[in-house]
């Protein structure tokens, strides 16, 4: 990862309403540093609908249109076209939604936008559950995790949905994942996305101390270990879904170390953790194989 110059300018103020150690708040700060002042946002129901602040305050010095839970993508598309039709084709329009608003209730509208290749940046900040409503499962919640709707006696048995593959299947020009543990990477990816036309999908891993039950000061450590344990691969997909580049330039760490500080995995037995470790590793190998295979297709070398 190359280190870009990080702008001093802050478009997000300190008067926000997030919990201590909120990864989603960091993510917004970095994203706005990259995108700059010619940016308009739409935010659906999610923690960020609250984090922004309560009327008449807002912690963001940009236009923000708050919208209904499942509509971020298409409202952003509407804003973009609305701006264009009144002569502003310069403003970058970004939809900023949680995993619930992306994987679940907002998937249909997002699919529509991606299929039409509407000219927006769509961001999924992934805290792996419905946090705003008090930690209920989403289809992004990882297998094994506790949430209020997947109690310890019946913790989540289904694997996290593969949102990245779903987006890649739409052949959009740019897909990236990143983690708040690497601000330079987050900023570089948003800068890159800003220069591309069409639907750009950025997926940021944003730990949630409140929902995952770990100490707020460990937020960045969780964001780092998720990546180094191969739980959350950092990658880019370009060439309209044809080219995958997975970031591998780090010292691997164990899934167990990633799980340990998190209360949501506390109930898991050693054997269960081992099973999950095997799953993670298998998925990682598949991803690397896919990266290689895609690169070997004639015309893609």
């Amino acid at each position: 990862m190359k280190a870009p110059r990080i702008p001093m300018e802050e478009l997000m103020g300190s008067g926000h309403l997030a919990c201590q150690g909120c990864g989603a708040t960091q993510a917004m700060r970095f994203a706005l540093k990259a995108l700059g002042p010619k940016t308009a946002l739409t935010i659906p129901a999610c923690c960020w609908a609250v984090i922004d602040g309560s009327f008449p305050h807002s912690c963001i010095e940009l236009p923000i249109f708050h919208t209904a839970f499942e509509t971020a993508a298409v409202v952003a598309a509407g804003i973009k076209v609305g701006l264009e039709m009144r002569g502003d084709s310069e403003t970058t329009v970004m939809a900023w939604a949680g995993d619930g608003g992306t994987y679940d209730i907002g998937l249909q509208a997002l699919s529509g936008v991606a299929e039409r290749n509407d000219d927006i940046i769509y961001v999924c900040y992934d805290n792996e559950a419905y946090m705003n409503t008090g930690i209920q499962r989403s289809s992004s919640t990882p297998v094994g995790a506790w949430t209020t709707t997947t109690p310890v006696d019946n913790y989540k048995k289904e694997p996290k949905k593969n949102m990245i593959d779903i987006m890649a299947a739409h052949s959009i020009p740019y897909i990236a994942t990143c983690s708040v543990a690497w601000p330079e990477d987050v900023i570089a990816k948003f800068r890159k996305a800003k220069e591309i036309k069409g639907t750009r999908y950025i997926h940021i891993f944003t730990p949630c101390p409140t929902g995952w039950k770990f100490a707020p000061e460990l937020s960045i450590q969780m964001a780092r270990r998720a990546v180094t344990s191969h739980v959350f691969p950092v990658l880019e997909i370009t060439e309209h879904g044809q080219k995958i580049e997975v970031w591998k330039d780090f010292e691997p760490t164990s899934v167990r170390d990633y799980f340990k500080p998190q209360g949501r995995f506390k109930h898991l037995t050693d054997e269960e953790i081992e099973g999950l470790e095997r799953d993670v590793e298998q998925k990682w190998r598949r991803l690397l194989a896919k990266e290689k295979m895609m690169a070997s297709i004639p015309g893609m070398e």
Partner: protein, 383 residues
Amino acid sequence: MKKVIMGNHAVSYGVRASEVKVISAYPITPQTHVVELLSEMCANGEIDAKFIKVESEHSAMAACVGASAAGSRAFTATSAQGLLLMHEMLHWAVGARLPIVLANINRAVGPPWSIWTDQNDSLSQRDVGWLQIYCESNQETQDTVPQAFKIAEELQMPVMLVMDAFFLSHTYEIVDMIEKEQVREFLPPYKPDIKIDTADQHSFGNLAGPDHYMELRYMIQKAMDRGLDVIKRVDSEFEEMFGRGYGLIEPYRCDDAETILVTSGTVASTTRVVIDELRDEGVRVGSLKIRVFRPFPIEDVFEVLSKAKKVAVIDRNISFGAHGIFYQEIKSALYGRTDIPIIGYIAGLGGRDITPKVIREIADKAIGDEQPERYINWIGVKI
């Protein structure tokens, strides 16, 4: 220039003349012609608008919400299930004070599947805060589109234009076409003061505590209150330029009428035929068409109806467990100010034809019966 066009196309031509900038819609019978013609107009450059071809009506309204918030004039059209799917975003358009115009072709709601007309789709959206204007002819439909935008933009409120499926949407009538060059004088380009703009940042619709929410709702009601005058004024401005006006309501031979039939949509035209027939027989009857349903023109309605001895309301809709919906509105408009009997008739649900014979039956019942069932009389039910 006069042309023979179908009701749905009257909407499309109204949209063309109104220089709409963003259209977003999803197809549903019987609305499809509206958006097919508009897609064609967008493709061939007849209108300088972008058409966002969304994957659902929920998204159609959401796209209009985004476009309108960004400061562009936005339009959509739908029907029945589509309107119901939009419900959440209909509220959003009101709360965000966005002057979107929607044409709803009144279609019965399933199950069972029905594509034919009744008013339960639009009337079940009564309380979302959209203005609602019920049209009776293709001419009125076309003319109401620019009127709707003008009203919407002045009040910063969305407006729903409503018309009957098939009886209007698919019926060909002569329409005096309006063109954008003339309409521009009547309806100048949309230039809102507050919009999504990086040079003038606002956070729209963020969390509002109990200290603020109620005031915002109060302001919506104030806009509705102002709406009646604005609609009247806009209508007379239109009439001055184009020679056609439609009013909030339309009384017909009501001056000395003992019995007045209250109608809406295409039933109003059929009713006038029956009124003439009855008048020829020496019966003192009249009819009152309700054109503007939200805001409800209480005073205008009262003025006409309070002179009658009996009022009969024909409802092509039903609020289950209560009465016909127009009936309820009329009753509440007259409540405590007169004790004339108001009788409710439910007819024509799911597109069953409301013929002159049906209206005659209603009129005869209303006039002749000394003690009619006040609230709800079903017409033509075969059970």
